[in-house]
Every structure is written in structure tokens, then in C-alpha cells.
């Protein structure tokens, strides 16, 4: 018998989300229990992210929340990819919280959005990760299969 946490847990998360999200986080769509879209904004006056809204795509497996969701920024006409030393220009995010090691099942869609918000808020470097161009050109892997090297945990 497979473990079927995902459907119930996501249903309840959605229920909670529809009753309200923290400032700067908005649900765009959650039509099924596999893929959700959310928009986030940075709330302080960090000039790198001023007046911009960013779109996040969450993908959940059957074993969420035991396994982490796959989370990437997606680019649209009015939704750029935020500049950050841990965010590749194709939207892939290098954050230990989202990795196999750093994930914990007490995290949620809401808490992941908040972590990303604060990751942007705290950043002052107007740069991409080292090797961004090469990575973006060459990468065919799904984010969850990439072994990130967390080169700078102070960012």
C-alpha cells in the first residue's frame, strides 16, 4: 500500500492558503494537486527587486511532504527571474531547504515562499551564480536531480 499523504496534505494546505497568505505572497493557480503557481514580491526597499513580482512553480510528487516539492522561478512577460547568486537565469534555485538533505516535512508551500522572500530580501549582490551561462546552456536535468554545491551559505 503506497503512502498517500500528498492529496490530503495539499488539500489542507490549499484550504489554509485560501483563508489568507502572508503579505507579498499570492496564489495564482492550484488547479490540481501536482502543480501550483504562486507570485511573490519582496516587501522592503531592496533596489534589486523593487516593484517586481516573481512567479514560482511548485511541483509535487505523490510522496510530498516526505519528499520536497520541486520549486523554480518561471519567466513571463511581466515576471522576470530575480537576480541572485543562488538563482540561475533559467529559474532554477539553489537553496538547501529544497534539496534532499535540507528539506523537512514540516515545511509547506507557504513556508517555502517565505524563505524565498527572505532570501531575496537579504541579498545585496547583483549577480548570478558562477557558471550560470554554461549551466543554463547545458542543463537538461530536473532540479531535484542536480547535486548542488552550496558554495556560499552566507548569501
Amino acid at each position: 500500500m503506497p503512502v498517500q499523504f500528498a492529496a490530503k496534505r495539499l488539500g489542507k494546505e490549499l484550504n489554509k492558503i485560501q483563508n489568507g497568505l502572508p503579505p507579498g505572497i499570492e496564489l495564482v493557480s492550484a488547479d490540481n494537486l501536482e502543480e501550483w503557481l504562486l507570485d511573490i514580491r519582496v516587501l522592503d526597499n531592496n533596489p534589486l527587486y523593487l516593484n517586481e513580482t516573481y512567479r514560482l512553480k511548485f511541483r509535487f510528487s505523490q510522496s510530498y511532504p516526505i519528499e520536497p516539492p520541486e520549486v523554480v522561478f518561471v519567466k513571463q512577460a511581466d515576471r522576470p527571474i530575480p537576480i541572485h547568486p543562488h538563482i540561475y537565469s533559467n529559474g532554477i534555485i539553489c537553496l538547501d531547504l529544497l534539496g534532499q538533505q535540507g528539506w523537512s516535512p514540516v515545511q509547506s508551500v507557504e513556508s517555502v515562499c517565505m524563505s524565498l522572500q527572505s532570501m531575496l530580501t537579504g541579498n545585496t549582490k547583483n549577480e548570478r551564480p558562477p557558471g550560470d551561462e554554461e549551466f543554463v546552456r547545458g542543463n537538461k536535468q530536473r532540479p531535484k536531480d542536480i547535486e548542488f554545491y552550496y558554495h556560499d551559505n552566507t548569501v
Partner: protein
């Protein structure tokens, strides 16, 4: 040897079951049982196929036969062999699933709890599914009880109104004064109106949107009301099925990331009782 062929029949049945052909699987399990009627495990296989076919009564027969046969074999087996019933949480789990649609709510709950106990002791991977079954049974039992209670209240309302009407009619008959009769009538209509309003208010209150269940009753991993809360070294409690599932993947405390193993988990009995009590009164919380 017949035992050999019953195993082959069972395996063929399993293949059909995997493909979703439950009728063929059931027929093969039946053949297997005919060739070896004393193997308890063949009965749970057939019960599993019959569950899919919604043949609740025959699921119950198979499971009961399985439990009877296993109790025979375990009492005659040598000491040190597997604990009695250790393999048969499936029979109990299927019994719960069959009793539920038959509206035998108390049996459905108690079989689910028995199956849960065995799975928890053996750290079986089906614990999460069995935990969900416990919650489902408790929810349906609560809904059933609520329906009965509401019906009884409605009947009570009707009875009270009838008594008042009877009293009024008695008084009206005993009086010739038209003014007094009008007065009596008005007084009783007013009383009846107030009784109806009081019952209506009670119903409205129940139909109002329910609040979220309290955080202390909710497992932070599955977001469900806890059935069997266990505590980590830091004193935080989780549903046993959820935290064990996490620890099989990563032996870390979900909050502190400190090392944590299944052996470190301690039952939180007081919280378990509190959750049981909460759920008995608030069965809706299973699907909040």
C-alpha cells in the same frame, strides 16, 4: 503436492489482481483455497479481491476464517515463533473496510484500531493507510451519530409542540368566555413560536462554518488530526505514521535536524486521549 499448486494459483491470482481483473483473481484465490483450505493467508488475498468487488459479507467471512485459522496455528506453534496475529493486520484492516459500508460503525472503528496497533508494533509500512482508515471510520461514525441526534431533536420538537397544543385545546374546551379563549390561544401560539425558534437557533449554530481544529490536535506532517501521537526528543509530537515515514527517508528531527531514529520516539498518551476525545465530539475535523 496440493500446497504447491495452491501457491501457484495464488500467484496467478495476484497477477490478475495487479491488472485490475478482480473477478478472475477471486476465482483463482477460491481454487487456491479449495486446494489448501488451512492456509490463512489465502483468505486475506480473496478478501482483498472481494473488497474490490464490494462483496462486503463475503469479505467478512474470509477475514474471520483467516483469523480463526491463524489463532489455531499460532497456539500450536513453538514458543519463540512470530507473535499471534502479527501477520494478520490485513484481515483486521479488511474487516474494518467491509464493516464501514455495512454501517457497522463501532466494529469498523475497533477493527481499524486493532490493525493500527499491530502495524505500529511492527513498524509496518501500511501504518499510514491504516491510520487513514481509523480517521475515516471515526468520521463516518460521528456523521451517523449526528444524523440520529438531529432526527431525535426534530422529533422532540414535534412532541413538545403537540403537548402544548393539547394543553391549549383542553383549556379552550373548558371555557365559554370568548375573550378569555382568545387570550389563551394567543398565549399558546406565542409559546409554540418560541419553542420552534429555540430549536431553530440550535440548528443554525450547528450549521455555521466550523473553525479550524486546534493546532495541538494536528500533525504537522500530514495535517490530519492525530490518532497515535509520538514525541521526539525535543517534546514535539507527530502522528506515528508520518514521522516514521520521514525517518525512513532521513533520520533527523524535522524541526532541529538533530539525529533522530524510530527508537527515540515516545508515545504521547495524554495527547492521544485528548485527540480521541476531540474527534469523538468533532468528527468533521477529519476533513477540515
Amino acid at each position: 503436492m496440493s500446497g504447491q499448486s495452491s501457491i501457484a494459483l495464488k500467484e496467478e491470482g495476484n497477477r490478475h489482481f495487479q491488472k485490475g481483473d478482480y473477478v478472475a483473481a477471486e476465482a483463482l484465490y477460491t481454487k487456491a483455497i479449495l486446494s489448501d483450505p488451512t492456509n490463512p493467508l489465502l483468505y486475506t488475498n480473496r478478501a482483498m479481491a472481494r473488497l474490490k468487488m464490494s462483496r462486503w459479507d463475503s469479505v467478512i467471512e474470509d477475514c474471520e476464517e483467516c483469523l480463526r485459522l491463524s489463532s489455531l496455528s499460532s497456539s500450536s506453534s513453538t514458543p519463540g515463533s512470530k507473535a499471534p496475529g502479527s501477520k494478520n493486520f490485513k484481515a483486521l484492516y479488511y474487516l474494518s473496510q467491509a464493516h464501514l459500508p455495512l454501517k457497522n460503525y463501532d466494529q469498523a472503528v475497533s477493527y481499524a484500531l486493532e490493525a493500527h496497533k499491530i502495524c505500529a508494533e511492527t513498524h509496518d509500512k501500511s501504518l499510514a493507510a491504516v491510520t487513514s482508515q481509523v480517521l475515516k471510520c471515526k468520521k463516518e461514525r460521528w456523521e451517523h451519530r449526528e444524523k440520529l441526534r438531529r432526527r431525535e431533536e426534530q422529533e422532540l420538537e414535534g412532541e413538545v409542540v403537540e403537548i402544548l397544543r393539547g394543553e391549549m385545546e383542553g383549556l379552550l374546551k373548558g371555557s365559554d368566555d370568548e375573550a378569555e379563549k382568545k387570550e389563551t390561544e394567543k398565549m399558546y401560539e406565542d409559546k409554540i413560536e418560541r419553542i420552534r425558534a429555540a430549536f431553530e437557533r440550535a440548528r443554525e449554530k450547528e450549521n455555521q462554518r466550523r473553525p479550524n481544529p486546534p493546532d495541538w490536535a494536528i500533525d504537522d506532517i500530514s495535517f490530519q488530526v492525530m490518532v497515535d501521537p509520538v514525541m521526539t526528543k525535543t517534546g514535539k509530537s507527530y502522528e506515528r505514521a508520518s514521522i516514521e515515514e520521514h525517518l525512513r527517508r532521513s533520520e533527523t528531527d524535522p524541526l532541529t535536524r538533530a539525529p533522530l531514529t524510530i527508537k527515540d520516539l515516545m508515545p504521547n498518551i495524554d495527547l492521544k486521549h485528548a485527540c480521541e476525545e476531540f474527534l469523538n465530539e468533532n468528527g468533521w475535523a477529519v476533513d477540515w
